[in-house]
Amino acid sequence: MARTAVSGRLIWRVATLATIRDETATARTLSFDVPDWPGHLPGQHVDVRLTADDGYSTQRSYSLASDGGIELTVQKVDDGEVSPYLSSVLKVGDPVELRGPVGGWFVWRPTDTAPVLLVAGGSGIVPLMAMIRARQAAASRVPFRLIYSARTPADVIYANELRLPAGGLDVHYIFTRNGTGRRIGVADVNTHGWPADFEPDCFVCGPTGFVETVADILVALGHQPRKVKTERFG
């Protein structure tokens, strides 16, 4: 497994779609076969490149959802050119170009010992789920707290896995379009996060506005900016 910062120069590899699993009405998980996959750390991502017959090429980054294999969870409703193709057109056995794993900043290592706060907005749960799965796989006792903002309960990705979380993982949901839906606020982060005195590692992933809001709240609550790591979709 590639567990160091020093890797080789990055190249595109051909990945083959192996399985498709529906997570919600709008999200599905694609698992790929990639020859000679070097392994990855939870939180890392890959770039996926599609090339049309006329040579036009486009690419997008996706977080790895899994601890071991290569699994990407894609929202069908995302704008752009790559997600609709991955979620609706690509069939089992089809190839795509992929490079990675990349990104050494937004990662959690099973050897880390600080308490962890994960804050997800929508499909921002994906890299955070990789951390939760790695924690479980390593039988780590590091206490995790997850605050997960989704539109409705039906939009919760990995709902079954999160329903009975492993010991030491607390899960709190915020629903933004469920009757009295509301956005995440200071009280949510204060009540369901960790006190800043505990110096937790905070990982925030979601749309740009969501990440901005949560990162500002965490810093206002006294967390050191360097302990608040963010991953925005744009």
Binding site: A5, H45, V102, G103, T208, E231
Partner: protein, 86 residues
């Protein structure tokens, strides 16, 4: 306009450099702020990548990839400190 984090540069820069430069510390030429490349604000919908300082919004780095090569403009970056334990 919406931006993403410097994390998004890991792939494009990984194509050029042998180490993960997103964990390297850069210093902004405009305001002197230091921090990992991973926290720069990256505008990816331009013809290339434009990475701006989260403190003062000045351009720290630009990266353009063409079929023939890559151009990295680093005039907004005073230094780049790369973790390289011996």
């Amino acid at each position: 306009m919406s931006f993403v984090d410097g994390n998004a540069l890991a792939g494009p820069l990984g194509e050029i450099f042998a180490v993960d430069v997103t964990v390297a510390t850069s210093q902004c030429a405009s305001c002197g702020r230091t921090g990992p490349l991973a926290v720069l604000h990256v505008y990816a919908k331009a013809p290339g990548f434009v990475a701006r300082c989260p403190g003062c919004d000045a351009v720290v780095m630009r990266l353009v990839r063409t079929p023939e090569g890559a151009t990295v403009d680093m005039r907004g970056c005073v230094t780049l400190r790369i973790p390289l334990p011996l």
